[in-house]
Amino acid sequence: MILATSAIAARADAKPQSAEARVRSYSPPRLSDGTPDFRGIWQAQATAYLNIEGHAAEVGVRASPSIVVDPADGRIPYLPDALKQRAKNYESRATSDPAINCFQAGVPRAIFLPTPFQIFQSVGHLAIVYTDNHSYRIVLASSVPHDDGIDFFMGDSRGHWEADTLVVDVTDLGEETWLDAAGNYHSDQLHVVERYTLLGPDTMRYEATMTDPKVYARPWTVRLLLDRDRRPGARINEDECIDGPDGVWHHVSPLDPQAVLHHDYPAELAREGNHP
């Protein structure tokens, strides 16, 4: 796994350390209660949103290896029938990917979308706001039981700290989200455990372990890096969809002048006269 460049440079002349020791040697800024300060705008480097298992170069997108680090072969350990379902999903992805119709991305897909998210944090509170579909997750303390008995597209998140790593336990994800645009999927038994660790001031490591006995033969883990957006004025733009004439919902960028619905009151009043 590749550490942040600055971390490598800083340690180029130091004696070799284990990856764990390198991570432990970065002590992040903290809130008043001592918890690491994760606040800010973050975005994944990886292009796993296309395919968690890696993909060839496409127009505008470089080739990418798998982000699956366990199993070692980088393949999601599907059960045999589930593998067939994944193939079906892949074949029909242009129409059956739930994200096509502006459905929320779920976990972990939302983390490695090509749009940023922002972590808001204060003593006792932590929330993650994604650009995509203005989804958000409120990470409650692990002492609060999960809301079992109801499913959410973005799941139900409970967090605790292990040293300087935020560990988030996610359940109740339902079964309607995919893991990427290539048809990788899960059942309503999906259980995700995420680990967020600051490696340096502007780099965070993200790991997620997926368990789903209906779909996967065993748990498997992905790992990728998130970069902090340090540009002045960086923000999470609103992301709302509208239904298009093709019957499909489409994202509308608030930076696009076409986002504005210009009213023409005289024309609307003229149409009133034609009301049955």
Partner: protein
């Protein structure tokens, strides 16, 4: 509206309405006709605890054996959840009696205002917090407007 077999399982009448609090996103009367009350007795085919409205799909059998499929719309799951509803609260095959108001467009859709469930113990309705439970007589009007 034809009558159907009465449910054989007794239960406590549960109050589904306080419909305005559950209709958080559009006008009730635009879609449902208060002058067309409907009572359905049938078998649950599906229970979907989803936003913005939850649905019970109900197969209603006439005396002559014809089965008509109805869709019963209810409130938002967060409101139902706060009143004890869970995604396993209605199971396929449950015998239900549901009263409501018919959709204006003539489809087999009602907004459910009262229900007698197979186990009959749920307080329903997506009513806001602190709403008192319905009176056992099953009157169709709560004693006072609910408060959030």
């Amino acid at each position: 509206m034809s009558t159907a077999k009465l449910a054989t399982i007794a239960g406590i009448l549960a109050w589904l309405a306080a419909a305005a609090p559950t209709r958080g996103h559009h006008s009730f009367a635009a879609e449902f006709d208060l002058d067309k009350p409907v009572t359905l007795h049938g078998t649950a085919v599906k229970w979907e605890m989803i936003n913005p409205h939850s649905y019970i799909t109900l197969d209603v059998k006439d005396d002559d054996g014809t089965v008509t499929r109805w869709s019963v719309e209810m409130g938002a799951p967060s409101a139902l959840y706060r009143n004890g509803w869970r995604k396993d609260s209605v199971k396929v095959g449950d015998e239900l009696t549901i009263e409501g108001y018919r959709a204006r467009d003539g489809s087999n859709t009602i907004f459910g205002s009262q229900a007698r469930l197979a186990d009959g113990t749920r307080v329903l309705g997506g009513a806001p917090r602190n709403v008192p439970p319905p009176s056992p007589s099953g009157s169709s009007t709560p004693d006072k407007p609910p408060n959030p």
